[in-house]
């Protein structure tokens, strides 16, 4: 019996260790390069002989050709991500409230339209979106990326918020009505406070989606002053002899905030994520 248990434990470790390595190797590789000097980066060691933070200094002081606009790009990334988070949240909260609690006429059609957008691959929508932004005269303005990302983030946001909202008891609405509350009072005093966890999840979702986006960013923005850090990182690939150690340091700086935010709000994310993605 204990033998069998031991065997079972061994089997689990035999799966767990490869999973751990598979997950962490590409990430450790980034970290390793970012603390290596140019010469030692390729030595193939698991830990550099002289670990250094100089690469980060180079990035922060914008001392490399590819990094002349580093702070500007990180500001653009932040600006765009916060704008997308806030606008998506506002739009989706209103829509979900109207569909779920006010039972607005045509709400079902709007929900279906949103779901349709959710299921269409974003890379496919990118082509007509690019043309439309050109027609609107928004290309190279940060607003083009903000509006595109709001379009992509809203459907899932509305879906998740509507699911959460449907679960609130109807007696609340009825009680509020009998007390003579207006729809806005119901929205502000009853609906919003009860929805806080879902609202946090949706804001985080939209924020991360926008910060992480590459395809739309590089299609819609090419002007040196408007590009976010994601596009700036892509520029490193322009030449074959890119300074990998500096690229990896920049990539680490770029990747840390979303990872930190994700883990900070994981409690909210996982519930919404599983509920919205595929209902069993």
């Amino acid at each position: 019996m204990t033998n069998r248990k031991l065997l079972e434990e061994a089997r689990l470790w035999l799966i767990g260790i490869p999973v751990l390595l598979w997950t962490l190797i590409p990430i450790y590789h980034i970290f390793l390069f970012s603390i290596s000097t140019k010469d030692s980066a390729f030595s193939g060691r698991l830990w550099p002989e002289h670990p250094t933070l100089r690469n980060f200094g180079t990035v922060f002081k914008q001392e490399h050709f590819y990094l002349h606009n580093f702070w500007n790009q990180i500001w653009n990334s932040l600006w765009i991500a916060v704008a997308v988070g806030a606008i998506t949240l506002a739009i989706a909260t209103g829509a979900a409230f109207a569909i779920s609690r006010l039972k607005v006429r045509g709400g079902r059609t709007v929900m279906n339209a949103a779901l349709f957008t959710y299921f269409i691959p974003a890379a496919f929508l990118a082509v007509p979106m690019y043309k439309a932004m050109g027609n609107y005269g928004l290309l190279n303005s940060r607003w083009s990326l903000v509006l595109a990302m709001v379009t992509i983030a809203s459907p899932y946001a509305i879906w998740v918020l509507k699911q959460a909202s449907d679960k609130l008891p109807w007696e609340l609405d009825e009680a509020a009505r009998i007390d003579g509350a207006t729809p806005l009072q119901l929205f502000r005093l009853v609906y919003l406070p009860l929805m806080v966890p879902s609202l946090v999840a949706i804001f985080t979702y939209a924020l991360l989606l926008a910060w992480n986006e590459y395809l739309y960013a590089f299609l819609l923005l090419s002007h040196e002053n408007t590009i976010p850090l994601a596009v700036g990182l892509g520029h490193f690939l322009a030449s074959d002899d890119s300074p990998w150690e500096i690229l990896m340091a920049t990539a680490l700086i770029y990747g840390m905030p979303p990872a930190a935010i994700y883990y900070a709000f994981r409690r909210y994310m996982v519930g919404g994520l599983t509920a919205g993605a595929v209902k069993a």
Partner: protein, 283 residues
């Protein structure tokens, strides 16, 4: 519920609150898509598209990429979900680490893998050289290998998400079923076959279909790894459409996407029906 629906003030506020999304949908979905379809109305753009020597290899790449990446990913996710449901403290910690690829942006990690695969300085070939004394393969300049690596990148990034979905599905299966199976002396395989799979089947298939649509739109795994190189031999439809935009051939870009629609739209329709079907059940 129906009494609540009446009252024109409520309908008016409903209309006001839903209007912003309706504007976004009209301005950034309806208008672009209709305009794009209008751009792609010309049969000539399809003719020149089909004559582009890059096009058919791209279609083949896309189909192979989809079939291999999605199925391999789901078999792995099904297997690993069985691992992650075990109640051990270290497995819970591992599941927190396991989600990293999905939680971090695509660029840093895909670039990292790209560097690892560099034939001259990359850590993979250095390792191969040190262990065997032989030069490793040109991972990213051989089109077949490069596509295989794109599959690896895609799976590395997307596997955690789908594993978690299947873990949630497995956790919803009543424990008593397994206990009863144990009493009957069922083997591990029999438990999977008679308890797990019947309960998980629908979720597995729906997830596979959804993943099929999204994998079709996976631009990053291919573009950031190979950029379509060498010689535009590693494109998929998603990257090919973007390539035509960069070449300023918008009608070709649209045509590329229209070509995929007969495949995408039925899947989208199926998924929408499934989701609204669920809704009717719950409400």
């Amino acid at each position: 519920m129906h009494t609540l629906r009446a009252g024109s003030a409520w309908q008016t506020w409903g209309a006001i609150l839903i209007a912003p999304y309706v504007f976004v949908f009209i301005g950034f979905v309806i208008y672009p898509v209709s305009y794009g379809l209008w751009l792609a109305r010309n049969p000539e753009s399809y003719q020149t598209l089909f004559e582009d020597p890059v096009f058919f290899p791209t279609v083949v790449n896309t189909i192979v990429f989809l079939l291999v990446a999605v199925n391999l990913k789901f078999v792995l996710a099904l297997f690993l979900s069985g691992f992650f449901v075990h109640e051990r403290r270290w497995i819970r910690w591992l599941s927190v680490i396991f989600i990293i690829p999905w939680a971090v942006p695509a660029i840093p990690t895909i670039f990292s893998i790209r560097f690892m695969l560099n034939p001259e300085w990359g850590v993979v070939n250095s390792l191969i050289f040190r262990l065997t004394g032989l030069d490793g393969p040109n991972w990213l300049t051989n089109p077949m290998l490069a596509m295989a690596m794109a599959v690896v990148v895609h799976i590395w990034k997307a596997l955690p998400f789908w594993t978690l979905i299947l873990v949630a599905g497995r956790l919803a299966i009543p424990r008593e079923l397994y206990e009863a199976a144990s009493v009957d002396g069922a083997s591990r395989w029999q438990k999977f076959k008679y308890v797990t799979w019947p309960s998980l089947k629908t979720l597995y298939l729906t997830s596979t279909l959804l993943s099929l649509i999204w994998t079709l739109g996976d631009f990053n795994s291919v573009y950031l790894l190979t950029g379509g190189q060498p010689a535009d031999k590693t494109h998929v439809l998603a990257t090919l459409g973007i390539r035509y935009i960069r070449l300023d051939q918008l009608d070709h870009a649209m045509a590329t996407i229209v070509v995929a629609l007969p495949f995408v739209l039925p899947l989208v329709y199926f998924m929408m029906k499934r989701l609204s079907g669920d809704e009717q059940k719950t409400s």
